[in-house]
């Protein structure tokens, strides 16, 4: 190292652009750095396509933006497991409280899973006019249920003292979105709370779900799923439960 070589600290400052190169030796190093940068390779097209495809949105459904939009959306579009919990709770209530002969009558006002849009007691949502009832069989109503797809389950953990207010707010959000509440059922597991089964028109569904999600007092890490195939009203199950 000759006496006019820059010190390591000075070299740092020059390369970071905090100080200008003033000697020939320093300018040589700056030129060398520029040559290295200029000759540096770029990623090839195939690699670029492969990597950028990783980040491309994989959820193309109307609820995809919810899942991509932050923890609330991702966290509160619930896993099939939670839907199963809610359904199981209701099933226990139905089976435990009444005989088999009552099941059909009760299922119309309980949480249930169907493969297509639910025709609520108040009729189809505004964006699915004319869907014939025969295409949307309801389990327990004397028809054969096709393979079920889970409704969107939204778990909303809230403080115990806010339970009533949050349930009322959830009802208000669903109604304001033009949705229909099909059933409201108290639950005891996994925490005490209230399960709301409802349908939402397709258009305002995402916003409404976002608002429902925002009722939660803390995030939960849950899975997501693609609701792209939904032809009619969006079925939801809102589980407002006490935060553990």
């Amino acid at each position: 190292m000759s006496h006019d070589d820059p010190t390591p600290e000075r070299l740092d400052a020059i390369l970071d652009g905090r100080e200008p190169a003033t000697t020939d030796r320093e300018r040589e190093i700056v030129d060398l750095a520029a040559a290295l940068r200029e000759a540096s390779p770029r990623a090839g097209g195939e690699l670029r396509a492969r990597v950028l495809a990783l980040g491309a949105p994989r959820r193309t459904g109307r609820l995809g933006r919810l899942a991509a939009g932050g923890w609330r959306g991702r966290a509160l579009i619930a896993a099939p497991a939670l839907a199963a919990i809610a359904t199981a709770v209701i099933a226990v209530g139905v089976l435990g409280g009444d005989g088999p002969s009552d099941r059909g009558a009760r299922s119309g006002t309980s949480l249930h899973v169907t493969s297509g849009p639910i025709e609520s007691t108040g009729g189809a949502g505004p964006e699915s006019p004319g869907l014939p009832q025969s295409e949307t069989p309801v389990p327990g109503a004397g028809t054969t249920a096709p393979a079920a797809s889970a409704p969107i389950a939204i778990t909303v953990p809230v403080p115990a003292d806010a339970m009533g207010a949050r349930v009322a707010e959830a009802r208000r959000i669903i109604s304001a979105a033009g949705g229909t509440i099909l059933a409201e059922t108290p639950v005891e597991t996994p925490q005490p709370g209230v399960a709301l089964a409802a349908t939402l028109p397709v258009g305002p569904a995402a916003d409404a779900i976002d608002k429902l999600a925002a009722l939660a007092s803390r995030p939960q890490r849950l899975e997501t799923f693609d609701a792209a195939g939904e032809p009619g009203p969006v079925r939801i199950e809102v589980l407002v439960v006490q935060a553990p």
């Binding site: 070589d5 070299l11 970071d16 060398l32 290295l36 000759a39 770029r42 690699l47 990783l54």
Partner: protein, 176 residues
């Protein structure tokens, strides 16, 4: 770190969390350049870059923009993957040598980037892997001293010394 440098770093912090797609778009070339320089092999660098972003996507939730920009985070992932690769390659070669099934693997340094002018590529080949790495981080990726030191797991002053040694060596090689 001086107060001024600390202030500079604070100003440069990225408070806004990019999406994974934005980060991939913005930093793909940088990660590839780093791994290309580190491995000296374009095909291997492509594979490792791809693996880096796949792993980054899996742990994207863990990236905290308050703790620093995303590029050093990505490069750190890439570096771990590259080092894992080197380690497994070393083990594989050891097994092959012991088995006597194949010719001993070459211990020569990986070839320099073919895209570089020949004299620059030759000069880079004469650097150690650690020197090539610090040049990649500080010069090609423009990471600041603290970020590069963090990726390398060394102190900022050690990083400065290493960079100084590497640039001096490069300049001397090119002057021959």
């Amino acid at each position: 770190m001086t107060v001024a440098a600390l202030a500079l770093r604070t100003e440069r912090a990225e408070p806004v969390r990019p999406t994974f797609a934005e980060a991939a778009e913005a930093h793909l070339d940088a990660v590839f350049r780093y791994l290309r320089q580190l491995t000296g092999d374009a095909h291997l660098a492509e594979d490792l870059t791809s693996e880096t972003f796949e792993r980054a996507l899996r742990v994207w939730d863990r990236y905290d923009p308050a703790r620093g920009p995303v590029l050093p985070w990505l490069v750190t992932i890439g570096r771990r993957i590259a080092l894992d690769h080197f380690r497994s390659e070393t083990r594989r070669r050891g097994r092959e040598r012991r088995a006597g099934a194949m010719e001993p693997a070459s211990t020569a340094a990986p070839a320099g980037p073919a895209e570089l002018p020949a004299e620059l590529a030759t000069a880079l080949e004469r650097l150690t892997q650690a020197e090539r790495e610090v040049v990649a981080l500080r010069v090609l990726l423009d990471l600041d001293g603290a970020e590069a030191a963090s990726v390398l797991g060394i102190s900022p002053s050690a990083c400065s010394t290493q960079l100084h040694r590497a640039m001096t060596k490069l300049r001397e090689e090119l002057a021959r």
